[in-house]
């Protein structure tokens, strides 16, 4: 595919896409869990492989056909985002009592001045801090979408969907160079947003 322009398939009924999402969701979630359980003899969890596997299974199960596999990737990336964010929410909820508070001297002073104590999130286990960062990223990507829809889509495909530049380019109907530039821009924007 490379820099080749690939048009989005537009013939599908949007309702059909919506119908597809829960299916993809369940499939991706189940696959992710299975991958995790199996002591993977190859390498780390690989999103692209998962997405490909999901695609194949759905095709087999449902006889569903996509003229352009790339559009499935875009959907899968979006669904993957939801899968992971749900995991993060689930993790946060599983932590009894929710996030712990840090009380600093400044806080004490603030309170003395009758300012309310904001709840500070500070996660210590790898799972905790990852869950919190994912949730923060998810919100930031939603804000980014309001500013620049395509940058947000690139993040969705590259980051959440684990798609390569070419796959992302195909899914979004832009060139790989554009994806590369967008990905750099999006990361900068997210860094600023999260570190502010």
């Amino acid at each position: 595919m490379g820099a080749e322009y690939v048009g989005m398939e537009r013939s599908r009924d949007p309702a059909e896409w919506l119908e597809l999402v829960p299916l993809v969701y369940d499939e991706l979630r189940a696959l992710a869990r299975r991958h995790l359980r199996r002591e993977r003899d190859s390498h780390t969890l690989n999103t692209t492989a998962l997405v490909h596997e999901t695609y194949l299974r759905l095709v087999q199960q449902r006889g569903a056909q996509w003229q352009n596999r790339s559009q499935f990737f875009a959907i899968a990336a979006r669904v993957m985002r939801r899968v992971l964010i749900d995991y993060a929410r689930q993790h946060r909820a599983a932590k009894r009592g929710g996030p712990a508070a840090i009380i600093t001297l400044e806080r004490v002073e603030e309170e003395m001045n009758n300012e309310p104590l904001p709840g500070d999130l500070h996660a210590y286990s790898a799972a905790d801090e990852r869950a919190e960062l994912l949730l923060a990223l998810d919100e930031a990507v939603s804000r980014l979408a309001a500013v620049n829809q395509r940058l947000a889509q690139v993040v969705e495909c590259r980051f959440f969907g684990g798609l390569s530049e070419d796959e992302t380019a195909a899914a979004l109907g832009v060139t790989a160079r554009t994806v590369r530039r967008d990905w750099v821009k999006a990361k900068d924007w997210l860094r600023r947003e999260l570190e502010a």
Binding site: H43, L45, G97, A100, Y124, S125, A127, A131, F159
Partner: protein, 769 residues
Amino acid sequence: MTQHSGGSRERMTALLEEAFDSGALVFSEPLLQALEGDAGDEFSGRVRSEHGISYEIERKLGRGGMATVYLARDPKHDRPVAIKVLHADVSARVGAERFVREIRLTARLQHPHVLGLLDSGVFDRDASVLAGRPYYVMPYVEGETLRARLAPDALLPLAEAMRVLREVADALCYAHSLGVIHRDIKPENILLTRGHALVADFGIAKAIAASEGGSDGRESVTPNDSPDDPTNSSSAFTWSSTVLGTPAYMAPEQARANAHLDHRADLYAWGVVAYETLTGRHPFRGLGGTADLASREKSLSPALVALVMRCLETAPGDRPGSAAEVLAALDAVAIDVSSTRAQRISDSVISRRIRPTIMAVLGVAAILLATAEYGRIGPSTILLVGTGNPAKDVAAVQAAIERADTVQLAGTFSFRQEPTKRVRASLTSAKIATPQAAQVLVSKAVTILGVPDTSGGMATIQGGTIPFYVDAPGSRVTIRRVRFVRPVAKAIEVVAVRDLEIASNRFDGVVPFGPAAAALTINTSGDFPLRSDSGRPSEVSGSILIRQNDIDVPSENAGEYTLGVLVWSVGRSPDAVVTLDITGNKILNTTAPAIMVRRANGRVRIVANTVETSAGLARDDEVIRVANTGSYEIAHNTITCRWLNCVGISLFSQVEEWPMVGAMVEENTVNMLPPAGSVVADSNAAIEIKGFARSNVVRYNIINGRAPTALAIELFKLGYPEDNAFVDNRLDGFHASLASTLVGSGVSRTRLVHPGTVVDRGVSTTIER
């Protein structure tokens, strides 16, 4: 994730980069793992290494962040072994060969408290799911990990905890001497077998770091990734923060993925483990434990607490310099058995659920051990480090006391500012002047505990008008190991409390307010208690413990009075009985009574105190003065009177309804040392009984020096003492100018045994010589 203090922002930046580099799914792996549990790495059967060594794997023993441990048999030697196999994702990352090379460097460790390495290698192709995975083999040790013993409600016995911590420090000391840093000290890596500790996984974290950070690490990059994947192109690998060490035990420099770690990262982790072992909870993060943690800390020796806190310093340079230093400090720690025992009784009262959580380190200004489930329960322990700025210090201490069950103080606090906490009107209107306001109000149950700083200096409060004002009805309050330097009026004023402990504090000077000042007063009546107004005695009840304090309160100007401990009108029978213990205190240079107790409804023990008055002043006063009810035991005190007209111990009552009955005054040493060449008035005695006093016994005391009399019993305010006894007191070193024993006119039925010379003006006095 919107609010971030300095340290966590740095961490967040590193995490974000890791997320971008690895992709969301890989990044979420720990999260998925936490949710999905550890099923799926079950394996049994024979496996062979690439070098042809076989093992018979029996079953999985456990799974950690980096590896899964299996119980296996080494067929060649027919012995059980534990095999740790790196997780697939870890081995994918690290480069198996390089890892095996690295780990060999640590194989030479041989030490009684280091779990040695028997073998290491890479499983061959036929090893099913373990194929190609690096492993290392250790002796199989029966026992359990320290983690398994850290149940929050069942702490390791202190002696065992100390032994385990010492052995871990010993292992670190040895490994560090060979240049091996552990990097992942945590309770899971400390095995307990037959009462001793074995530290496992030495150098493993380092081996992983080295093998993935080095050039070999590149080989392990997932081939599925496209060539322009940032994982490949980015020059910085950020994996390290995901695998090196365990966040909860990581030194701050390690959490920042600082490549230049040294042995002091291990000392930090040792500190976390020590904290957790001694208190049952992680210093930064709760394990969901139940109470009594603060009380456990109270029973620890301050030197041990200081050592652990030093290890937890953020900057490596502020920690002990070496494991050897930790070891030496541990050996110097004497377990304070007596305080542990004293604590046990009173602590059983507290057992409410708390959920300790997080500690925030704020550089030098303050460290707060905040243990909050946010919005639900207040923090249970807060550690404050003084700034020397009164505006900050007073507010911080006040806020901490309002929030925490235990407030630990370290360093120097300044309380030198206008006090704002109003005190009771009954105090301010009393003839003994009391300021209108105090510095910090203690209005609920709290333990205020001084923690020595790194050089062993006591937590110090400089100045302040009544630094602690305790008005905490029905609540238990403890103040220990705090040094008060020249507070105004008094260091501690108590008006309401149930169960009070004021122990091991230092009181260095007091600044009189009006003419008078005291180190410590417990006073519900304002002026001394009268029949018409005895204050609110029922508001001070339970066990009132004043022990092992060091009080030195010289007065600098004539006409000023400095007192030691004053207790007025406490306890009410039978519903609010008080037990007052004033024991083991050292009270120096008072110009008025060192210990004064009036009207205590309950038992009063004034035992084993050392009291020496200021010298040379023309004072006319009593050093230990007790009056108006109470069951007194005054024993084993050493009293040195240097005033001109001085009484060592005085028991009396001026109120018929509140007689002094049944006191036991025994085995005290009273040294009467008036200024040389002075003429002493007739009324003085080393020990005297006056007024409405019955059935008191003064025996086996040793009286030295000079005064008109050693022992005296007399009429006071219409009260005639009856049925008192002076038995076998030793007067060899005493010079009486009037008589050794004086029985005043109207005093009835006094019994004297071996009284020395006697002037008897009483009624029915019996004398046995």
